[in-house]
Each structure stands twice: as structure tokens, then as C-alpha cells.
Amino acid sequence: MMDLIGYAAFFLTAALIFSLITLGLNLQWGLTGLFNVGLAGFVAIGAYTSALLTTPDDPARLGGFGLPILIGWLGAMVVGGLAAALTGYATLRLRSDYLAITTFGVAVVVQLVALNAQPLTGGPFGIGFIPRPFGGLAETPLLFNLSNLAIVLAVTLAAYLALEHLSRSPWGRVLKALREDERAAVSLGKSARFYRVQAFAVGGAIMALAGALQAHFIGFIAPDNYLPILTFQVWVMLIVGGSGSNIGAVAGSVLVWAIWAGSGALTSMLFSPEQQARAAALQIVAIGVMLCVILLVRPSGLFGDRPRRLRAAKAAPSAAPESRGP
């Protein structure tokens, strides 16, 4: 029983970290319509920044600086946000698929830097000894897992509430307007450049924070953690949950992560050890099938923005205007 609770806490922690990344993507894609296919790069930037800031001094590479974990997380958000703002600024003139190709390139560059800039990132060996919050509790795994879960839950909840507030705010309305029709929004006095860069920066900062949380949760990072498969997973999470909805981003992440982890457990049960490396590919197949099913059955995801609006509109066609006041 204790084991089960411990595992549930471990599972939820991992799932909630994914939720945080998906929330960042939802701001960029769901709200603003920015096709960021390079999110793994921003997650990596957050993880490496926080690792460099908080690990003990290592003669083999730059740092670490042995700073408190909280400083590491804030540093991750700042560096991730700046990197994303820079990407947003550099890609102002690009739309949809061209933007996607460029952001994908950014992620590949980040991953290659992580792999090759050994004096900075430890190269293929990665960075170990990343301090873990509540590391003192590591002797009692259950307590350790539960306290990790509590902290990730608190961060995710804070991000969720802040993003929910923003998506209902006039600021969020401008982002939605840019998603719907940039030219119309510009004609109404909204600077497409300014808001695109902001959406990139805020989303990137959240993704970087998630990367930092994950790094401190596992205690070790390596370039392999930030391959394009991560981007794929998060996109599936957002599509399944429903693009444009923050609660959908969280629910989609938990659901997809459950299927990912579940199919992983299942393959290790069903296949002999020598076949398992190959069977692991079935995880991706499982996620792919799920994506297809969702797109067929609920094209806008579990909590998609659009059908909900339509239902709400049908239910209350003559609602008093005041009832929807701010």
C-alpha cells in the first residue's frame, strides 16, 4: 500500500511537471497561435541553467555555483524567458510552418550545444549531483516522494491560476485576437510584435521552470532528455487535453503520461528483457494511436476551447450582458 502511494506520488510529480510544460505551450499555441515545435530546447535551457547555478563546484566544467534551489529556479525562468523572447523576436516575420521549422532548429541547436559544449554542460555525461529539494528525506522514499509532489503541485497550481487569470484578462484577449486574425488586431491598435514576443517569453519561462523542476526532481540531466520526442509528447498532451484550455493542458498531460508510463510497464511485463529495447517503440505507437483516436472522436480535445464556447453560446443565447462582466 505504501509502495503504491509512493509510486502514485512519483507518477503524479512527473505528470505535473509535464503539465507545466504543456501550460507554457498552451499560452503560445492555444492562446496566441504560435507554432512552437522547439519547446524541448527551452525545457533544456531551464534544466541546465538551474543545474549550473545550484550544483556544487565542479573543476571539469563552469560552475556549479552552489546557490539555493530557489535561485536556480528563478534563474531558469529568467534565462528561459530571455531565450524565448530572443527566439520570438528573431521570428517575428515568420508564420505557422516556417515558424515551426525555425523553432525546431532552435531546439536542435540547444540540444547540440548541451551535447558538445562540455566545459559548460558536461557534454554527453550531463550534470549530476543536482541538489534535490527535501534531499534530507531521501532515506524515507514515501515522505520524499510526497514532499516532492507537494512542491511540484504548488508550482503547477500557481502557474495554472496565473495563466487562467491572464487568459481571461484583456492581455489574454489580445493574444487570442492575434491568433484569430493578426491584421484585424493590428488595425485595432495591438502591436503584433510586442505581444508575440511576450507570449514567447512567458511560455518559454514556464517551460524552463518545468525543466528546472524536473532536473531537481531526478537529480541528474543529460542531453538525451531533451530530444524532439519530448516536444512530440507535450504537443500530444496539449492536443488531447484541448488546445486553448489550461485545465485541458493539465488533464491531457496526466492522461498521456499515464498511457506512456502504463504502456512502458506493460511492454516490460510482456516482453523478454532482450526484446525490451525494441518493444519500447510501442510506447510511441500507443501515444500515436491515442492521438488519432482523439482527433477522430473529439477534434478539439477533451477540454477544447471551441466546442465549449459553442455549447455555452447555445445554452444562453440571450444571456444578459452584465452576467458576463469582468
Partner: protein
């Protein structure tokens, strides 16, 4: 020519909008060639001309969507021709589009509220630092948006997504939306195109009402009946040049205009 029009023709106010020697080239094509005119305060000025005359390019230049190759555009005396498009509405110039551009998945009221200028809540951090101020402004904006939707007879659809609207309703929504920004002048690109006769009357009435409240209009229109009924003065463009200026009756009799529309040898 009616009384109002004569009055506007006679008065010499400082212009709301002036174009001076405006030229726009696209490669070898001169879409707008050395055009100069002014829009006087309170008038409804029509801009007509055959297809390909450069009317929409002229509109895009005035609205800032494209920059002139040469020449100056002034809005209430301020030189704006080098400025980014999004700054123009804050200076009092609003526009609508030939093919309306509602934000389809935003509700009508959200569409209109978006056009409010100088909203505190459009600054990211203000939503956390001064939420009460944002809420107060939103409440005021929502009230005004509902009033504007009432003006264009769309208030019963206020909470529907804009995609449910018909073509004519979309034009009315754009009109309400641009009004939200309290513009001094509104550029209308073919307000009558694709609109059924009943709704057209509504649009004409609303433009007239709004004009009476002191807002200036510049409109592109092919519907000559509408131009004759609404416009105090008319400009005629052909092949990128301004060929004629006057009242609707005057330009209709002008041989240069007849030639531009019907072709022929001069």
C-alpha cells in the same frame, strides 16, 4: 446636393486626414501615383473608381498597413506615414476591411471590447499588480461595447462567437468595433458589398447617425446609389491617379470619369 454637404464644402477647417503627393510602387507597377487630397472634419468623403484603380492600396496606405514609396500622410496635422499600423487607431483613425475580419472564435462583445484603447489590463503585469483597476476598466468597456452592439442591432448576439454572423452582420460588427476606439475618422472599405438590401439600409442609417455625432468618414464604394445618398464629396481614382473631385452629381457628369469607367478614346 443637400444642406449638410454644402455646408461642409464651404467650411475650411483644418483637415482630419491629408495625403500629399502619395505614391506607392510595387516593383514596376505604380499602384498609387502622386495622389493628394484632404478629408475635412465631419464630412463623408467617397472614394470611387473602376477595379484596379488603386483605391484599396490608397486605403492601406492611409491605414498604415503598407508604407508609401514617397509622399506624406498627416492625421490631424501629425505626420504618420512612417509609423507602424497599430499606432494609427490611437491617433484617431479606424478602419474596416473589404472582406470583414471579425475574430471568429471570440464573442461579439469580446470583439468590440478588444478595440478599446489604452486598457491597463493589456499590460501583462498590471493584471496582477492592479487587478481592481483592470476590472473597473473592463466593466466600463463591456457597458460601452453593449451600447455599440445595440447601435448596430447586434446586442442580442453579444455572447455568440462572431463566426455565426452573416456577411452583412460582420460589416456591422466591424463598424461597432471600430467605434469602440472613439476614432475621429473611419475608413470604410466597401461597406455595401455583399450585403442584402434590408441590411444595407441599416448600414447606411448607422453611418449617417455616426457621422451626425461628429465622426468623419472616408469610404470606398461601388454602389453608386449609396455614394450619392451618403457622400458629401467624392474622389475618383483611375489607374492609380486621382482624376476628379466633386459632389456625386458633378463627378457623374465628368467626362474623365465616364471615360475611366466605360473606356474609350480621349
Amino acid at each position: 446636393m443637400n444642406e449638410t454637404a454644402r455646408q461642409h464644402g464651404a467650411e475650411t477647417h483644418a483637415a482630419v486626414l491629408t495625403a500629399t503627393n502619395v505614391t506607392r510602387r510595387f516593383g514596376g507597377l505604380v499602384a498609387v501615383n502622386n495622389v493628394s487630397f484632404e478629408v475635412r472634419p465631419g464630412e463623408i468623403l467617397g472614394l470611387i473608381g473602376p477595379n484596379g484603380a488603386g483605391k484599396t492600396t490608397m486605403f492601406d496606405l492611409l491605414a498604415g498597413s503598407i508604407l508609401p514609396t514617397s509622399g506624406e500622410i498627416r492625421l490631424n496635422g501629425t505626420l504618420v506615414s512612417g509609423e507602424a499600423a497599430h499606432l494609427r487607431i490611437g491617433r484617431g483613425l479606424g478602419r474596416t476591411f473589404q472582406i470583414p475580419r471579425p475574430l471568429p472564435n471570440l464573442t461579439l462583445i469580446e470583439n468590440v471590447m478588444l478595440a478599446a484603447q489604452g486598457q491597463t489590463g493589456e499590460r501583462l503585469l498590471a493584471n496582477f499588480i492592479t487587478p481592481w483597476r483592470v476590472a473597473g476598466e473592463e466593466k466600463a468597456a463591456a457597458k460601452k461595447a453593449v451600447e455599440l452592439l445595440e447601435l448596430v442591432s447586434l446586442s442580442r448576439l453579444a455572447h455568440q462567437p462572431a463566426r455565426v454572423l452573416s456577411g452583412g452582420q460582420r460589416k456591422l460588427l466591424e463598424l461597432a468595433r471600430v467605434m469602440m476606439a472613439d476614432p475621429a475618422i473611419i475608413l470604410l472599405d466597401e461597406p455595401a458589398a455583399g450585403v442584402n438590401a434590408t441590411l444595407l439600409e441599416v448600414i447606411i442609417d448607422r453611418i449617417r447617425d455616426i457621422n451626425k455625432s461628429g465622426i468623419t468618414f472616408l469610404l470606398i464604394e461601388h454602389n453608386i446609389d449609396m455614394v450619392t445618398r451618403l457622400c458629401h464629396r467624392v474622389l475618383v481614382m483611375a489607374s492609380g491617379e486621382l482624376i476628379c473631385e466633386g459632389t456625386a452629381d458633378e463627378v457623374a457628369r465628368d467626362p474623365r470619369v465616364i471615360e475611366a469607367y466605360l473606356g474609350g478614346t480621349a
